[in-house]
Symmetry: C2
Subunit: 232 residues, 2 copies
Amino acid sequence: MNKSQELPIRAVAFDAYGTLFDVHSVISLAEQLCPGRGEALSMLWRQKQLEYSWLRAMSGRYKQFWDITRDALRFSVARLAPELSAADEARLMNQYSSLSAFPENLGALRELRSLGLPLAILTNGNREMIEVSVRSSGMDGMFEHLLSSESVQTFKTRSAIYDLGPQALGVSAAEILFVSSNCWDAIAATWHGYRSFWINRSGAPLEVLDTTPNATGSLLTEVVEYARQRLA
Amino acid sequence: MNKSQELPIRAVAFDAYGTLFDVHSVISLAEQLCPGRGEALSMLWRQKQLEYSWLRAMSGRYKQFWDITRDALRFSVARLAPELSAADEARLMNQYSSLSAFPENLGALRELRSLGLPLAILTNGNREMIEVSVRSSGMDGMFEHLLSSESVQTFKTRSAIYDLGPQALGVSAAEILFVSSNCWDAIAATWHGYRSFWINRSGAPLEVLDTTPNATGSLLTEVVEYARQRLA
């Protein structure tokens, strides 16, 4: 589509895990608990968390994302660090409930708000999990809407969860900038009509899914400039 | 369920990739093309192939599994071996169309047939891909039905693809033994009413999905004994 034909941006919706909160901020504790395998454990944990959400979404077997996160940790421990105790598991899960925010995020969110854009989180996380994460990362009061898988009992990339954005924000998906550090999530949002922005923090290759995100950058601050140029 | 209440086994359906055909038989060529990274490339290729099938199944974006397999290879090469040429890519794809069968498989399939059980393949693969694999592995004539994602335009673990088994075999899912080396596939088949047998060749931990396969073994020959004890 020609840029002149694009609709203006009237709201911004953010993925939470990996985008606002650093899911790999558990690495240092994981490394302390299982020396030499902390990073591998963190990577497998995240991969299994997504896999389990996808398998459940495909088969209509919803379960709260917090519980899926624990299931994924248990599989990953069984495969990589079977000596970890129940107490160690609890410490890792506790870490997950207070993930670090990426350093530039709070400033970028404030700037987007100052442009008059309503902000939302659109996440696989269940409500309690996401409320705790927002609070513990100092992002309280930044978001007009916390849109959770819990209200539709399914996960990304099913339509029902992406539909929450236009429903809550009262504008069409094409007028919402959807921001995710997960390339597959940005692409699926595009499939569902959003304008998408992929935060590619690690220099990963583009997922090969016949669709590209509408924009790509490496930091949340780049979203501010992109949105500023496309306001109503 | 008490074993005495179980229905007899009247047919056997097999997953194809990983179960009948060794998807990692491409490792030696991959290792030759990118020394030191052959195994990593093979693992990522397989993981992305499944991921792309899941994302497309969730979002109603079917594409032939052969093409998804190429997409997954392209992503994996971009991440792990960007120096690979188009000719090398073609050699790897060509390898994938004639994967090795696991050594015990042909004997086990013959024994199951001698028990009077009709056999089927139930696979994400598209029809041409699976016909080529069956032929090149010497399994011609072993299967009454080749049931492919192509006829329902979606992938595992959506119901539509598992429904193909009872439809083709003319018995209920509970009377079909579904055999897969992919634990998630065996579990999803259980969700959809099948009796499932997980071939755990690598000693992997059980996936944590609140359901266990009905039986587990490490070789296809163990399926023969299991079925023999549960005939009508």
